[in-house]
Symmetry: C2
Subunit: 224 residues, 2 copies
DNA sequence: TTGACCACCGACCGATCGGACGGTATTAGC
DNA sequence: GCTAATACCGTCCGATCGGTCGGTGGTCAA
């Protein structure tokens, strides 16, 4: 009979520890020994669950990408007009990045390292597909807004880059960002503030004149 | 007598090679052996010029930070009203990032890794001071613009984060960004396009109504 | 009781890591 | 000619790297 208490499988415990470590010092900066010590297992046991270090890394990245994918897609699925869905998408993305402290940095890091770490394993293909899935959905949303005349006509790839830069980078900026704000990036009030600032900048910067009506600030997303 | 041809000192050749390698695989991902091979020297010779790997890394980061510092400060020193200086600052920053292909990625990487790689060496203190110098100048510019009523009143730390996210991240996004745009991030036309997009977003997003007059696009900065 | 499967382990492997050390060739100043 | 400094090199070191291998103890079905 399974224990009633929170029983976390070894595989997930490994992923948790590896996520923390990889996000802080990157793929090359972390040894399997260090991960094993953090979990409380032996190094050989890690290879029982993951066939290689690269596969463990891909699994870590894939897991948080799945969370982001699921959350942002669910946010879009609720419906509403383009602006409502866009705001909700932003809120959800930033809430997710705020909830998972390692997500931003891990994502940016993986974006840097997979230039050489490109493999063809199942996990790595899954990562690529998930990224495309997330970006595809928001691309279509932007396109819909531009065609409807509610968003300014801008280059979609550039807007995507700007979205990543405004959201993911901020939550990945670590000690640098914390020194700038004088507090942790993940305090509820700073998260709320960031969401407001990003949305305000994008409202004024992206919305066409006739769509930009009441930009109510401070009434953010679901949680944070 | 010194040779008339382009004579590059070994120290600079080491910095060049290390910049390239570190920007691609990070501090932990590169061994001194690899740097030495790229320069055409032996590993021991690197330790003749730099007392440790960490110092070499700090020297690499410090060098490109110095370039950015000098260029952006010179751009501000030319003068003009707040909006003119702000635009010129953006142009100069992005031109510099576009010229030095490794700069963006190296900067973001160093921002990530020095959370644990924080030292008290002379070079590392210089890096910190240079960063503060650059951000201090643009902070004062933003403040001036907000007080003059020509820029919307926004949280300056958040605007700084947004500036980094919109500029440095883009030029650091590597293969990921190139797949999105279908071309190298450093082609002249894409650089020009990015500068226009960022300036347009910030014009609409930051400028107060009465200041936002003729946002002429496509008439960017000095070079690229 | 047996055998298959599972999670896990210690010991070990060749390779590579950052770095120390001693030595050599060249140059400049005396 | 001697000395000092500079730039460079080969060799060696202890530690750590990712990964393999041969186990051990436990659980469950036959």
């Amino acid at each position: 009979m399974r224990a009633a208490v929170i029983e976390i499988g070894s595989r997930d415990k490994i992923l948790d520890a590896a996520e923390d470590l990889f996000s802080r010092r990157g793929f090359a900066g972390i040894g399997m020994r260090e991960v094993a010590d953090a979990v409380g297992l032996s190094k050989s046991s890690l290879f029982h669950h993951f066939s290689s270090k690269a596969e463990l890394y891909a699994a870590v990245v894939g897991r948080i990408l799945d969370i982001i994918d699921q959350r942002t897609m669910a946010a879009l699925a609720i419906g509403g007009d383009v602006l409502t869905r866009f705001d909700r998408w932003l809120d959800t993305l930033m809430d997710t990045l705020a909830e998972h402290h390692n997500a931003g940095r891990l994502l940016l890091r993986s974006l840097f390292e997979d230039d050489e770490l490109n493999g063809t394993s199942a996990e790595e293909r899954h990562v690529d597909e998930t990224i495309k899935h997330v970006f595809g959905a928001v691309s279509r949303l932007l396109q819909e807004g531009m065609q409807a005349g509610v968003l300014r006509k801008r280059s979609i790839p550039h807007v995507l880059q700007s979205l990543v830069g405004l959201t993911v980078y901020h939550f990945a900026s670590g000690e640098f960002g914390e020194e700038m704000f004088g507090q942790s990036l993940f305090t509820p009030q700073l998260v709320r503030h960031r969401k407001d600032e990003v949305k305000a900048l994008l409202h004024d910067g992206l919305m066409s004149g006739r769509a930009r009506v009441t930009t109510k600030r401070g009434k953010g997303g679901s949680e944070s």
